[in-house]
């Protein structure tokens, strides 16, 4: 039976990176948000054995239980869509934090050139460098405009790196937190 809850101006389905950031920014602006997420609750104490590589990396402990719910997919229109029965290249996470919880990898900033790939190529090599029919475009937003947000996201996500002389390196220096 439906259980009516107090109305809120914003409901976000999925509390991963995207939903989580939007919810946080809205909440900071004083707007009440309800976030919906599936899966079991997890907190720090649930990760006591997180170094168990077999359980977490090979057996996909953090991923959705496919026996309860899975997706169907096909790679061409002619193929028959079939359920994803076991995990392969595509991993579905669940729980608060979504894919952000089992997210790993290296997060580099895009370079100024990536945002202005067309104009910078033309500036440097001339218009003849871009073959006819190649549809590359500038993003319409530049590195400098986006830089404060790179910085903000890196601090939000705890991204760090060695301080180097690269002009586009993140501004923060990798430090080990002292004190236990």
């Amino acid at each position: 039976m439906a259980n009516p809850l107090p109305k809120v101006p914003v409901v976000i389905v999925g509390m991963g990176w995207a939903g989580g950031i939007i919810a946080a920014e809205l909440a900071k602006a004083g707007i009440k948000v309800v976030g919906l997420e599936r899966g079991k609750k997890r907190s720090t104490e649930d990760y006591f054995m997180v170094h168990d590589e077999l359980r977490y990396a090979q057996r996909y402990e953090m991923m959705q239980d496919l026996s309860k719910e899975t997706i169907t997919f096909r790679n061409t229109e002619k193929a028959r869509a079939l359920p994803m029965r076991t995990y392969g290249s595509f991993l579905i996470g669940d729980g608060l934090g979504g894919a952000g919880v089992h997210w790993n990898g290296q997060t580099y900033r895009f370079l100024p050139y990536d945002f202005q790939i067309k104009s910078m190529t033309v500036d440097r090599y001339g218009a003849g460098k871009i073959p006819e029919g190649m549809q590359i475009q500038d993003w319409g937003i530049t590195y400098d405009e986006l830089e404060p947000y790179f910085d903000k996201f890196e601090k939000t996500a705890g991204i760090s790196g060695e301080k180097d002389t690269h002009p586009n390196a993140p501004s923060g220096q990798a430090t080990i937190r002292r004190g236990r």
């Binding site: 170094h51 077999l54 996909y60 496919l66 026996s67």
Partner: protein, 254 residues
């Protein structure tokens, strides 16, 4: 990673290469001369487990050395096959002494073998190669089909049980399964079985000893893999190579 010339300029063995090529399983590489340092270190330290010296399983895992799933014949067959995939050599114990067959037995007995977290309901339909596993058999069933195939093929080709074959013959059988053209299995195919057997072997060698393989962390010790350290807090800022005794998940329970 610097390559290290072998002292005797013999071609590098497979295991020496694995060891020297760093921590393929992950972990912290401390210092650029890591590979070289490990090599040197290994030359100087006494062998932890000279081949054939110790037949007694390490105390840490001995109660797990019993069967949850296989019968004796299936167990011996598995043990013989995994030993060919990860053989004992001058660097240390092979899959048999590392308890890999127990590891596989325990895995097949549990959730993984029963595909409890996979979608196993119908309707079933053969899929494209890109659509992954679409069968209805569990991993445990498929493994037994593979073992039966191994048994039959050995008997048919050499007139002997697989564990009784010479090593070279066992290798030929396994190669035939890997290739698959001469072996027909009912319900699965020989190359898939071989692939699973190989994956299970590597898991059994390198997964935490809690799971029944990697006896006494010997799989890790052979490669100087530090296992599951709680933290690298005390080492991360040190210069040069830091040698760590491996830690297992059991050490986290202290």
């Amino acid at each position: 990673m610097p390559t290290t010339p072998n002292k005797d300029s013999k071609p590098m063995s497979r295991r020496a290469f694995l060891r020297n090529s760093g921590l393929a399983l992950g972990g912290v590489v401390l210092g650029g001369a890591f590979g070289t340092a490990i090599w040197k270190d290994r030359e100087e330290q006494p062998q932890e487990a000279p081949p054939g010296a110790s037949q007694t399983p390490a105390a840490s895992g001995s109660y797990q050395d019993a069967l949850m799933f296989f019968n004796q014949e299936q167990f011996r067959l598995t043990e013989a096959a995994v030993e060919r995939i990860y053989p004992e050599d001058e660097h240390g114990p092979g899959a048999k002494k590392l308890g890999v067959a127990y590891y596989i037995d325990h895995q097949l007995a549990g959730n993984w073998g029963s595909n409890t977290k996979d979608y196993m309901m119908g309707p079933f339909s053969p899929g494209e190669a890109t659509q992954g596993y679409q069968g209805r058999l569990t991993r445990a069933s498929m493994f037994l089909i593979g073992l039966n195939g191994l048994k039959d093929y050995s008997q048919k080709t050499y007139g002997k049980a697989f564990p009784e074959l010479e090593e070279a013959e066992q290798d030929e059988v396994l190669k035939a399964f890997e290739k698959g053209d001469k072996v027909k299995l009912n319900g699965t195919d020989a190359p898939s079985f071989f692939k699973n057997l190989r994956t299970f072997t590597l898991e059994g060698v390198y997964a935490d000893p809690m799971y029944g393989g990697n006896k006494d962390m010997q799989g890790w010790k052979m490669r100087n893999y530090p296992g599951n350290q709680m933290s690298y807090y005390d080492q991360i800022e040190k210069d040069g190579l830091v040698k760590l005794e491996p830690k297992s998940l059991r050490d986290h329970m202290a």
